[in-house]
């Protein structure tokens, strides 16, 4: 099998290397890729959408369908992880362990009995190890700034590198950092599973809903200039605002999908302590 694989990989490589003879040289301004459609995007974006970041304009406006289905693909991937892994088992019989947060004392609760409802106790697993104090403190300190930066990346995507995908991933990473530096229960307490799943769908619905609103207002699907009458501005500015709305939708969907996938994969669907 190894030899067959090597032969297939090498022959594909040789074929592709032969094909590079016909490819344009690196960074050639006259290459076919940069002579047909891209000059239109570069020269017309500003007057058509008033967005200086051409990548954002192409992503959410000119190629809006592509991005919408891309978001739907991500949502489907999150859903697939959930369906493959999530186990809804009843609480396993036996004793449960709780840790008193202030004193660090671990309490074993017999089956059938309950602790008085209190914020001071944290549920732990038998394999629990204390999170490192330095890592825990630094992460707690950093996470708000990471989230603030993510919001900046989403909101400033029109003028600088950024947008819904990048900001969404950073937001998701901040919650995943919380789950890694402490444990999964802590992060799930802040971002409930149900809220996460619902927001994931809401992100896709914001995107598709904006497109449908354009359709209802009498123009094509995802043609944001139709929003001008709703937003009380000229059609060019309306396209800019429409891009921002769908970028927010993309950001929410991406953030929640990242968290959803991580939660399911890291705890094998049990939503216990995680890694």
């Amino acid at each position: 099998m190894k030899i067959i694989g090597l032969i297939i990989a090498l022959s594909t490589g040789v074929l592709l290397i032969c094909a590079t003879g016909d490819f344009p040289r690196w960074a050639d301004p006259a290459s076919p890729a940069s002579t047909h459609l891209s000059p239109h995007f570069i020269e017309k974006t500003m007057e058509e959408t008033s967005v200086p970041n051409i990548v954002t304009a192409v992503l959410a406006d000119y190629r809006g369908y592509d991005t919408m289905y891309e978001t739907a693909v991500i949502f489907t991937a999150g859903l697939a992880c959930f369906i493959l892994l999530r186990i809804f088992v009843k609480e396993e019989p036996g004793d449960r362990l709780y840790r008193h947060l202030l004193t660090g004392v671990t309490v074993r609760v017999k089956e059938g009995t309950k602790l008085p409802p209190s914020e001071d106790f944290e549920r732990i697993d038998a394999t629990w190890t204390p999170p490192d104090l330095i890592i825990k403190t630094i992460c707690r300190f950093l996470i708000p700034f990471i989230q603030l930066f993510a919001l900046y990346v989403i909101a400033h995507g029109h003028h600088s590198p950024g947008g819904g995908f990048q900001g969404g991933v950073i937001l998701g990473a901040s919650i995943i950092l919380l789950a890694i530096s402490q444990d999964l229960r802590t992060s799930v307490r802040r971002m409930r599973e149900k809220l996460d799943a619902v927001l994931c769908a809401v992100g896709v619905i914001i995107y598709a809903g904006t497109g449908a609103l354009c359709l209802l207002l009498g123009l094509n699907f995802l043609d944001y200039s139709a929003l001008a009458s709703v937003l009380h501005c000229d059609p060019v500015t309306a396209r800019s605002h429409g891009i921002l709305i769908v970028e927010i939708g993309v950001g929410i969907a991406v953030m929640c999908t990242m968290i959803w996938i991580y939660n399911n994969v890291s705890s094998i669907g049990k939503y216990d302590e995680g890694l």
Binding site: M1, L16, S34, S38, I42, E43, R63, A77, L84, F165
Partner: protein
């Protein structure tokens, strides 16, 4: 010899992506462990991303964010020339592809976990032997 080096240097971006792609393809076909196959798939995706981004490069051009784009637009706007900015289209395509790559990686790992739960191994030949036993 000098000619060959010149050919390689003029199109080195393609050579790098082909090398990466061959590594990924070999790992996907020949490796026995499912996680290694998934890693191979990711290397393959990286190769394609590199290829697309490199086709967007343009000599003497800058990133596709318009200068003077923050102020007034309309009649007094600066004239934009396509040669000054690199091709934005490959960047757009790869931007979404990176996030989708992460999502597919998640699904692949989830499937690997399910396989492991069922067969207690991630080695392909052992899994096949266990399937044949039944």
């Amino acid at each position: 010899m000098g000619d060959l080096i010149q050919i390689v240097v003029a199109k080195y971006n393609y050579w790098i992506y082909i090398t990466l792609m061959m590594i990924g393809l070999y790992a996907m076909i020949a490796k026995n462990n499912l996680v290694k196959k998934i890693v191979g798939m990711n290397i393959f995706q990286t190769a394609i991303i590199l290829f697309y981004v490199s086709t967007g490069a343009k000599r003497g051009a800058t990133i596709p964010i318009l200068e003077h784009g923050h102020g007034e637009h309309g009649a007094g706007a600066h004239v934009v020339h396509a040669v000054d900015y690199i091709n934005p289209l490959p960047h757009v395509l790869m931007l979404t592809a990176i996030v989708v790559a992460v999502a597919t990686l998640g699904v692949a790992l989830a499937l690997a976990i399910r396989v492991y739960n069922r067969y207690d191994t991630l080695e392909e030949d052992e899994i096949l032997a266990k399937i044949r036993e039944k």
